[in-house]
Amino acid sequence: MLLGLSVYLAVILFIGLSVYQFVKYARMPLHARMELYPVPRERGRHTYGGSYMEEPEWWRKPHQISRSSELIDMLKEMLFIKKLFSSHRSLWWKSYSFHLGLYLLILWAILLIIGALAELSGIPVSPSVSFWTALLYYLTIITGVVGFAIATVGVILLLMRRVFDPVLKKYTTPQEYFNLLLLLAALSTGIAVWIPDLSFAAARQLVAQILTLSVVPDIMLVIHLLLAEVTLIYIPPSKMGHYVGKYFTYHKILWENEPNLAGSPMEDKVKAALANKPATSWGAPHIQNPPAPEA
């Protein structure tokens, strides 16, 4: 019962803390313009990094925006970590192995939930019942096996890179090692728990037990579940929660591209920001007592 509840709690905290982080950054004051080109939203120009400012009297012309190219670039970044691929290939292999593994494990968990729900309603997840149960059966195996394998290999490679690269070593704090070790612990205990049954029937059964709050604990399972839960709760407030940060750095800063034009939504935001007088002020003499101009 308690073990089952703790899983729900960890998932809720993961979502809640992620939202909390999101709100924290979103509520910070409006920042200055800081785009960097290429900005994918610039229709027709994004391929070479152009912007609406290439047009004379750009403010009189409609801003040509392409949501689709923005979406494509966003997906490339999310699904393939494109930036890293193009600027740091040797690291991309390691990082992508880990991230892709993680994505597969999320998919695996979802498939387990679907499977558990199916079995709870009396449909056995087996290759011989129907096409759909077969699909579910095999997909669960593939996502689970590949997910665990490449995520773990990725973490190990990332960790080794940090330990053996003399440059990175100097910049890595104990906390940053801890982050990777925590992931490694959660993943490797998972492997230890599931490796005896790679059809993941036991995993599906566990999920069904969690759903019905009737988990039958065994020591290895308890360790794995607790580690996985701690990881889930720890991620959002740590720098591993960079999925939150990346939303802001890309969409709200580097790709924002919203001039403060009369009648635009940005105008209202700028006005509100300007009306908000700061409570803190700077101490330098030329700011405290500015000299008067001569002319």
Binding site: A32, H88, Y171, N260, W282, G283, P291, P293
Partner: protein, 535 residues
């Protein structure tokens, strides 16, 4: 300890110079030969005594002087920490969020190092690694501002002591970054390391009142007092315009009346006033082109209305805002329809981007770059050219502020394709360009050894790119090779490197803006406009 072993927490540990500017990145042919480059000069003992030379033997912060008493030392450290705290507060609204993100999320993946021309040019000197500065900032903040138990501090890497030397070295280090933001472009998390350099500069200026003389005392302060960082007041400005008219007549035999303070004009053109002093052929070329095309334009002679520069954006937001307000005031007073910024990159950014959210929409006059307008005049045939007049190799430098940060990429290339038959790109170019090495104020800073840092280190990659762009004719002295650098500061860097490496004397390397090249190719002109083509 070699420079490779240096860690951020080594800042301030001793007064010994941390790194020496030797074993720099090798340059391309013909500068790969011995004795082609001046050696780095000795650090004078009196500089060591007076300033902080202990980072790399160069001094940017000439107003930061070694304290005489312990109390002075302590005061500096305290003020610095107070300023650091304010960086994450509503006193710093426009940067708080992006800075917080860069502070929180850096994965120390080290992707940004390879993108940084200063780090690469220096031969990978550790202190110039983009994350070195950022991590020193983080460590100081965590060690001295964020609380926590000893154990927690060790856990998060809060292991950095602070003394006068630490603060001073970090202050110097803030001026070893061109704020070009090339590192931010490659960061997989979209973080901007230049913010740390800029914010440290701001803490020094806005809280401690310490900034390089050319940027502050002889920069924004002078501009706010006299109207221009050149110190040119209104009367002198009007004289210069008159001189420009005479000069145009002498050169090309045309009588042009340069419009000044014309109310209700379509365009208010604002130049970097330094152009009138150092490169008058540039504002003259604008006048020739606009008059030939029949543009309704004017210059302003009112306070700050004739100088587009805004050094504030490099080190002090408060100063930047004051200048922006006055420039907009000048434009509003004249009732012009739009402001057009001449060939000055940082002025583009200041008026076009930084100003954008500093003023409500109704207080702004729309701002645009001169490039799209010129391309329009070329494209529509209002200006006619004979490209054979420009039949020599030309390459284009992309000013970071205009290209990477504003996305104005193609129009200048389109113009060059029309007027310069031997135009070739540098590698890389466009939004991936490298800074000229003069960005963020370096082009005008000359205190103790600083120009050697610029010429040998920060401009090095650009110089190498230029050598490679002209590799086909570099040794042929009879062929002038023109670097088109449509930005005052970039031109300043070119002037300095060409002199430093004797590149004009030895290899006939030339530099200038885009409008000069356009005037040179004007079909209606019967003599060359570019001086180096005259006999």
């Amino acid at each position: 300890m070699t420079h490779k072993d240096l860690r951020p927490s080594d800042l301030g540990k001793s007064q010994e110079q941390l790194i020496h500017l030797d074993n720099l990145m090798p340059l391309s042919f013909p500068y790969d030969q011995p004795d082609m480059e001046p050696a780095f000069p000795e650090v004078k003992p009196e500089w060591k005594e007076k300033y902080c030379t202990s980072l790399d033997g160069c001094v940017a912060l000439d107003t930061l002087q070694r304290p005489q008493t312990e109390a002075e030392e302590k005061e500096l450290v305290q003020k610095f920490l107070r300023g650091m705290e304010k960086v994450f507060s509503d006193a710093n609204k426009g940067v708080w969020q992006p800075l917080q993100l860069a502070y929180d999320y850096c994965a120390k993946c080290d992707t940004c190092s390879d993108a940084c021309h200063i780090y690469k040019a220096s031969g990978d000197k550790e202190v110039y690694r983009p994350i070195f500065r950022a991590e020193a900032f983080r460590k100081l903040y965590k060690s001295h501002i964020t609380g926590g138990s000893k154990l927690y501090k060790r856990f998060v890497g809060a292991d950095m002591d602070i003394n006068w030397e630490t603060v001073a070295q970090l202050g110097e280090l803030a001026y070893r970054c061109n704020l070009c933001r090339r590192c931010a472009q490659v960061c997989p998390l979209g973080l901007d390391n230049s913010l740390f350099a800029k914010e440290i500069r701001k803490v020094f200026s806005q809280e401690m009142g310490i900034a390089p003389t050319p940027l502050h005392e002889k920069g924004t302060m002078l501009q706010l007092k006299t109207g221009s960082t050149t110190g040119i007041g209104k009367a002198a400005f009007l004289d210069m315009v008159e001189f420009l008219e005479e000069d145009i007549e002498d050169r090309i035999g045309r009588k042009i009346k340069i419009p000044i303070d014309k109310e209700g004009a379509d365009i208010l053109l604002i130049h970097n006033a330094g152009e009138f002093v150092a490169w008058p052929e540039n504002p003259a070329a604008f006048a020739i082109l606009f008059e030939e095309a029949g543009i309704d334009w004017t210059l302003s002679s009112s306070m700050i209305g004739y100088d587009s520069v805004n050094y504030g954006i490099w080190y002090d937001d408060v100063q930047a805002r004051k200048i922006i307000e006055q420039q907009m005031q000048a434009a509003r007073d004249l009732g012009v329809k739009r402001i057009v910024i001449g060939e000055c990159g940082h002025a583009h950014k200041a008026a076009g981007l930084v100003a954008d959210r500093m003023l409500p929409a109704e207080k702004k006059i729309p701002v645009e770059s001169w490039i799209p307008i010129m391309w329009d005049l070329v494209r529509t045939g209002r200006l006619k050219f004979d490209p054979s007049k420009n039949n020599f190799p030309v390459t284009l430098h992309d000013p970071c502020n205009i290209v990477r940060q504003m996305g104005i990429v193609q129009p200048q290339r389109e113009i060059l394709r029309v007027i310069a038959p031997q135009f070739r790109e540098m590698t890389p170019s466009g939004v991936d360009n490298y800074c000229c090495g003069g960005g963020s104020g370096f082009a005008i800073m000359h205190s103790a050894n600083f120009e050697h840092f610029r010429n040998k280190v920060s401009s090095r990659v650009k110089f190498d790119q230029i050598l490679r762009a002209f590799s086909d004719t570099i040794t042929d002295r009879s062929v002038p090779k023109y670097v088109c650098a449509p930005c005052s500061n970039c031109k300043g860097s070119m002037r300095d490197i060409f002199k430093y490496y004797k590149a004009t004397d030895k290899f006939n390397l030339r530099y200038g803006g885009l409008v000069e090249l356009m005037v040179n190719a004007l079909a209606s002109l019967d003599q060359p406009y570019l001086e180096f083509l005259e006999g």
